[in-house]
C-alpha cells in the first residue's frame, strides 16, 4: 500500500493577525507555523492504515517556501517514510495552480491512495484535494470522518447535517480527511531524530499560470465593547428592553 498525503504549512490561528503593508497578505512577523490541523489527521490516518496492513509507504508532499520543510520534517517524525517539497517563493492563492503542481508530482507515482486534509485552516478553501482528483482522473471523497481499506476497496463515512453517509470506492482514489478519523500522534524524540535522516526531495513546483490573486485583504470590524447596565435586579428591565429592541433576540 502506497499512500501520499498532501500537507500545508499554516500559521498558528489563535493570534490577532495584522495585514502586511502590501494589503494583500497577512503580516508574518512573529507568527508560529505548523502543519494544518486537518492535514495532521490525514497523516495519522495514513500511518494507521499502513501500520494495520503491516506494510506500505507513506509519502508527504507539500507546496510551499523553504520553511515548509519544517512541516515535512514533522510528518517524517510522526513516522512517514519520505517527503517531497515542491518549492515556491510564496504559496499562491490559486487552488488550481497548486493542484496542478501536486498532480504533476503524483502522476505515475503508483499511489493507491492520496489523502488531503479536508481544508487548510488558514485559507479554508477545501478545493485543492478535489481538483487534484479531477486532474488525475480519480474518484474523490471529500471530508471523510472514517476511512477503511480492505481488498483493494475503500469505504468512507461522511458526516452530514443530522445524518451520515457511507461511501464505497475503488482504489486508487483521493480522500480528504475530516477530524475524528484519528487524533494525530505526538512525535517522540526518537521519531524526531529519525526524521533528520529520512529522505526529503526538493523540486520546483510546476504551478503553471496563476489566474487568481488576492486584490485586498481586510480585518473584520472590531466588536463593539460590552455595556454594563447596572447591578442586581434593578438592571433587569433595561436588559430585557435592550435584548428586545437592540439585540432583537427576545
Amino acid at each position: 500500500m502506497k499512500i501520499a498525503v498532501c500537507i500545508k504549512r499554516v500559521p498558528e490561528m489563535d493570534v490577532r493577525f495584522k495585514i502586511a503593508p502590501s494589503g494583500t497578505s497577512v503580516d508574518e512577523t512573529g507568527l508560529k507555523w505548523d502543519m494544518s490541523d486537518f492535514d495532521g489527521y490525514a497523516v495519522e490516518a495514513a500511518l494507521q492504515l499502513t501500520e494495520k496492513l503491516g506494510n506500505g509507504e507513506v509519502v508527504v508532499v507539500t507546496v510551499g517556501p523553504d520553511a515548509a520543510q519544517e512541516t515535512l520534517r514533522k510528518a517524517l517524525s510522526m513516522g512517514v517514510t519520505r517527503a517531497v517539497h515542491l518549492k515556491v517563493d510564496a504559496i499562491p492563492f490559486d487552488n488550481f495552480a497548486i493542484a496542478r503542481a501536486l498532480a504533476t508530482e503524483l502522476q505515475g507515482g503508483g499511489y493507491d491512495l492520496i489523502l488531503f486534509g479536508k481544508m487548510s485552516i488558514d485559507s479554508s478553501n477545501g478545493a485543492v484535494g478535489p481538483i487534484t482528483a479531477e486532474l488525475l482522473n480519480l474518484p474523490c471523497v471529500a471530508a471523510a470522518s472514517k476511512l477503511e481499506i480492505a481488498n483493494g476497496k475503500g469505504t468512507a463515512r461522511r458526516e452530514l447535517e443530522g445524518a451520515a453517509e457511507l461511501l464505497e470506492f475503488p482504489l486508487p482514489a483521493v480522500v480528504s480527511i475530516d477530524e475524528g478519523v484519528a487524533r494525530p500522534r505526538y512525535p517522540s524524540l526518537k521519531g524526531i531524530m529519525a526524521a533528520k535522516k529520512k529522505p526529503l526531495e526538493v523540486k520546483p513546483a510546476q504551478l503553471g499560470d496563476l489566474r487568481m490573486t488576492v486584490s485586498t485583504m481586510a480585518l473584520p470590524p472590531d466588536r463593539p465593547p460590552g455595556r454594563i447596565l447596572g447591578e442586581g435586579v434593578a438592571a433587569v428591565p433595561e436588559l430585557v428592553r435592550l435584548l428586545q429592541t437592540e439585540a432583537k433576540v427576545l
Binding site: E12, D14, V15, R16, G30, K32, D34, R183, R185, Y186, P187, S188, L189, K190, G191, I192, M193
Partner: protein
C-alpha cells in the same frame, strides 16, 4: 590451639564468602550507567555525619527513630568489641586490656555493657512493634516482614550471647571491676553457684556462638533488605542531594549525543549505578510511601515499590548480564512489590523490563514531583529520579502519556504557554499599572534593577493575574525600578520537563535564556515557585546563570528594610493557615520568608499550621504536570490538603504559588467553604497605604 586453627578456618571462609557476595553486588551496580558522584566532598561528608551517623532523618519520627538510632549507635560501639572477639579467636593472647590503661579499658567495657543493654531493649520493643502493633507504613503486599523479624531476633541473640560470655567469664574469675560491667556482674551473682568448669564451658560456647552469629549475620546481609547496614552510609555519601543548588534538580540530558536512540530509562541498565545502589539500600521502612500525596489519596503509586522493584529487577537481570550463571539460576534476593513484579524462567526474565513489568505507566503519571519521598528517606534514596527517568522514556522514546497532556505540549510549543493563550496578551494583566517593559528600558538605554518574571499562570489565569497585580503594586510602592518582558516572555519549560518532555523543555529554556541574555538580565524576581526553581537552579545546566528570588523572600526583604509604606492601623485579628509550596519549601528550603512576610504585613495575624507543614507539607496536587492531567483515581489531593488547612480553623488560607492558589481555591470550593485564599503578595498589597 586446634580451636584457634578451627576458628581461623571459619573466619576465612566467612570473610571469603562475604567478599564474594560483596564483589558480586558491586559488579551488578555496573549494569547501570556511569555517573560522577564525588563532587562537593565536604557537603557529602557532612551528610554522612548528620543523616548517617547523626540519624537526623530517622529521628524525624521520634518513637521508631530513637529505637533505630539506639541500635545503630550500639552497633557502632559494639563493633569495637566484636573486633576484639574475632581477633582473640585467632590469637588467644590478644586483648584490649593489654593495650589500654586500666581506666580506659574499663570505660571500653562499660560502653560495651551499656550499649549491648540498650540494643537489646530497643530490639525487644521493635519486635513488639512489628509483631503486635504493626504500623501501617510497614505493611505492603510483599514487604519482607519475616526478614525483619529474623534479623531482629539475630541481633537479640547476638546481645544475649555477649552477656552470657561476659557473665560466665566473671563466674570463673572476676578480672575487671564490677563497676565496669554492671550488668554481667549482677548476672554473675545470680549464676554464682555454677562450678568454674561448667562456667568456663558456657563462656567459651557463648563466645563461639557470638562470633559465629556475627559472621552469619554478616553473610546474611547481602541476601536481605538489611543490606542497608552496609550500604546506607556510602549511599548517603553519594546521594545527589549533596551539592549546593542540586536539590531536586533533574538530571541534565544531552539530546544531541551521537548514536543515541532511546531516551530516559525503560530498564535498570538505563539508570545510573547510584539508582541501583539506592535499591540495595532500601530498608522497606515505608516512610516515603507514608508521605506520598498520591499514595495517601489512593493512587496506584508507592515510592517504596519503585525502589524495591529497582532492586528486584537488578537482582533478576544483572546476574544474567554479568555472566553469573549460578546466581542467575536460583531465587533472587528479595521479591518485588506488586502484582506486576516479575520472576519466572530465565527466558521470561530477559523479556521483562523495569517499565511495564515492574512499574506501570499509571504509577508514574500519578507522581506530583513533590519530593516528600526523597525528604523522608532515612538512607537518602532518590525515588523521584527514577520516576523522572522512566517518564522521559515514556514521552521521548515511546510517545506514551495521558492524552490530556498533548494539548499542553502543543500549546507550550505554539503559544509559549501550557494553555492556548495568545502570546500577544501576556502583558495585558499590567494594563494601567504603569509597568515598564524590558524593551522600553532598552530603548531608553537603561536597565531596571530587577526583572519581574511573571510566569504563565499569573500572566493569563484570571485569579492568578491578581497576584501579579498585587506584587507589581508592592514593587511600585517600594520604589523598585522593575521591568516585565510582556510578550517576550514565554513558558520556562518546567511543566514539559517534569512531564518527561525534555526536548520541548530545552527548546523553551534555550529560547528564554536567549531573551534574558539579550537584555543582560542578572536579577529576576518571580511569584511562581516553579519559575523560581527552574530558572535559578536548572537553567545553569543550559548556560543560563541568574540570581532568582522568589517574591516571598523579596517582599520580606523590602519589609525588613521598611521600604513598603504600610498602613499603621492593625486591622482585624486574623488566623491565617499557610500552605507550603513544594518547589519553594522542599526544593529550595524557603519556609520562613512567606510566614515572616505575613507577620510583618499584618502584625496581629496568627499563622496557624496544619499538622503537615514546612518540610512535611502535603503537596497541593498540581506539580509534576499533574495540573494538566485528570485525577480519576482516589480522593482529590487538593481536597485532602484543603481539609487539613481548614481543619486549623483559620479565617483565611495563604499560599505563595499560583498553582497552589488554583488547587486550594478549588479545594475550598469543593468542600463548600467560603474561607478566602490569598497569595502572600495580596495580603501585603491589601495593607499598602492608599
Amino acid at each position: 590451639m586446634t580451636q584457634n586453627v578451627l576458628f581461623l578456618l571459619v573466619l576465612v571462609a566467612a570473610l571469603g564468602f562475604f567478599s564474594y557476595n560483596a564483589q558480586r553486588l558491586v559488579r551488578y551496580l555496573t549494569t547501570g550507567h556511569d555517573e560522577h558522584r564525588t563532587d562537593h566532598p565536604w557537603t557529602r561528608l557532612r551528610n554522612v555525619v548528620v543523616i548517617g551517623i547523626g540519624q537526623s532523618k530517622i529521628l524525624r519520627e521520634p518513637f521508631a527513630g530513637i529505637l533505630h538510632a539506639s541500635v545503630f549507635w550500639g552497633f557502632v560501639i559494639l563493633t569495637l568489641g566484636s573486633i576484639e572477639i574475632l581477633a582473640r579467636g585467632v590469637f588467644p593472647a590478644f586483648g584490649f586490656d593489654r593495650m589500654l590503661p586500666t581506666p580506659v579499658h574499663g570505660l571500653f567495657l562499660l560502653s560495651q555493657e551499656l550499649f549491648a543493654g540498650l540494643v537489646l531493649a530497643a530490639v525487644v520493643v521493635l519486635l513488639y512493634r512489628r509483631l503486635v502493633i504493626k504500623p501501617r507504613r510497614l505493611q505492603g503486599d510483599k514487604v519482607h516482614s519475616g526478614d525483619a523479624v529474623f534479623i531482629l531476633s539475630m541481633i537479640a541473640a547476638l546481645m544475649v550471647t555477649l552477656f552470657l560470655s561476659a557473665t560466665f567469664d566473671r563466674v570463673v574469675e572476676a578480672r575487671h571491676a564490677a563497676a565496669f560491667q554492671p550488668i554481667s556482674s549482677v548476672l554473675a551473682l545470680v549464676f554464682g553457684g555454677v562450678s568454674p568448669g561448667t562456667a568456663r564451658s558456657i563462656a567459651t560456647a557463648s563466645t563461639w556462638s557470638h562470633a559465629l552469629l556475627l559472621l552469619a549475620f554478616l553473610n546474611y546481609l547481602p541476601y536481605s533488605k538489611h543490606l542497608h547496614v552496609i550500604t546506607s552510609l556510602p549511599n548517603t555519601f553519594f546521594s545527589n542531594t549533596s551539592g549546593p543548588g542540586q536539590v531536586g534538580v533533574m538530571r541534565p540530558m544531552d539530546l544531541e549525543a551521537e548514536g543515541v536512540e532511546t531516551f530516559g530509562a525503560s530498564d535498570v541498565k538505563d539508570l545510573s549505578w547510584k539508582n541501583l545502589l539506592d535499591g540495595y539500600s532500601c530498608t522497606e521502612c515505608g516512610r516515603c510511601t507514608a508521605a506520598c500525596p498520591a499514595n495517601i489519596t489512593g493512587k496506584p503509586l508507592s515510592p517504596r515499590k519503585i525502589v524495591v522493584n529497582v532492586r528486584q529487577r537488578t537482582m533478576e537481570i544483572a546476574p544474567l548480564l554479568k555472566g553469573d550463571r549460578a546466581e542467575a539460576a536460583h531465587a533472587v534476593l528479595a521479591g518485588g512489590e506488586g502484582d506486576d513484579a516479575g520472576g519466572g524462567t530465565v527466558g521470561e526474565r530477559v523479556g521483562h523490563r523495569l517499565l511495564d513489568t515492574y512499574i506501570t505507566e499509571d504509577e508514574l503519571w500519578a507522581c506530583t514531583s513533590c519530593r516528600a519521598c526523597v525528604q523522608e528517606c532515612p538512607v537518602s534514596i532518590d525515588q523521584l529520579d527514577v520516576i523522572n527517568e522512566l517518564r522521559r522514556n515514556l514521552v521521548l522514546t515511546e510517545s506514551r502519556f495521558p492524552e490530556e497532556i498533548q494539548p499542553a505540549f502543543e500549546a507550550m510549543e505554539r503559544n509559549g504557554a501550557p494553555w492556548k493563550f495568545q502570546p500577544a496578551d501576556r502583558g495585558r494583566w499590567a494594563d494601567g499599572l504603569g509597568v515598564t517593559t524590558m524593551a522600553e528600558f532598552a530603548e531608553r538605554n537603561e536597565r531596571p534593577d530587577v526583572l519581574f518574571w511573571v510566569g504563565c499562570m499569573a500572566s493569563f489565569d484570571d485569579r492568578a493575574k491578581k497576584i501579579a497585580v498585587a506584587f507589581a503594586r508592592i514593587l511600585n510602592a517600594a520604589g523598585i525600578r522593575f521591568a516585565i518582558l510582556a510578550q517576550e516572555e514565554s513558558c520556562n519549560g518546567d511543566p514539559a520537563r517534569r512531564m518527561g518532555n525534555e526536548y520541548l523543555y530545552q527548546m523553551l529554556a534555550r529560547q528564554a535564556i536567549e531573551t534574558l541574555d539579550r537584555y543582560h538580565v542578572t536579577t529576576i524576581v518571580t511569584t511562581c515557585p516553579h519559575c523560581f526553581h527552574q530558572i535559578g537552579n536548572e537553567y545553569p545546566q543550559l548556560g543560563g546563570h541568574y540570581e532568582v528570588i522568589h517574591h516571598s523572600t523579596y517582599i520580606e526583604r523590602l519589609l525588613q528594610q521598611e521600604l513598603v509604606p504600610l498602613r499603621t492601623e492593625n486591622g482585624k485579628q486574623l488566623v491565617v493557615a499557610y500552605h507550603d509550596s513544594c518547589y519553594l519549601g522542599r526544593y529550595n528550603d524557603v519556609y520562613d520568608a512567606p510566614r515572616e512576610t505575613l507577620k510583618r504585613a499584618l502584625p496581629v495575624v496568627t499563622v496557624a499550621e496544619p499538622p503537615r507543614n514546612r518540610s512535611r507539607g502535603l503537596c497541593c496536587g498540581a506539580g509534576g504536570g499533574r495540573m494538566w492531567m485528570e485525577e480519576r483515581v482516589g480522593k482529590r489531593i487538593n481536597v485532602e490538603r484543603t481539609e487539613e488547612l481548614l481543619g486549623t480553623g483559620a479565617d483565611a488560607l495563604a499560599v505563595a504559588c499560583p498553582f497552589c492558589m488554583t488547587m486550594i481555591s478549588d479545594g475550598a470550593k469543593a468542600l463548600g467553604s467560603d474561607v478566602p485564599v490569598y497569595d502572600i503578595a495580596e495580603v501585603v498589597a491589601g495593607q499598602l497605604e492608599r
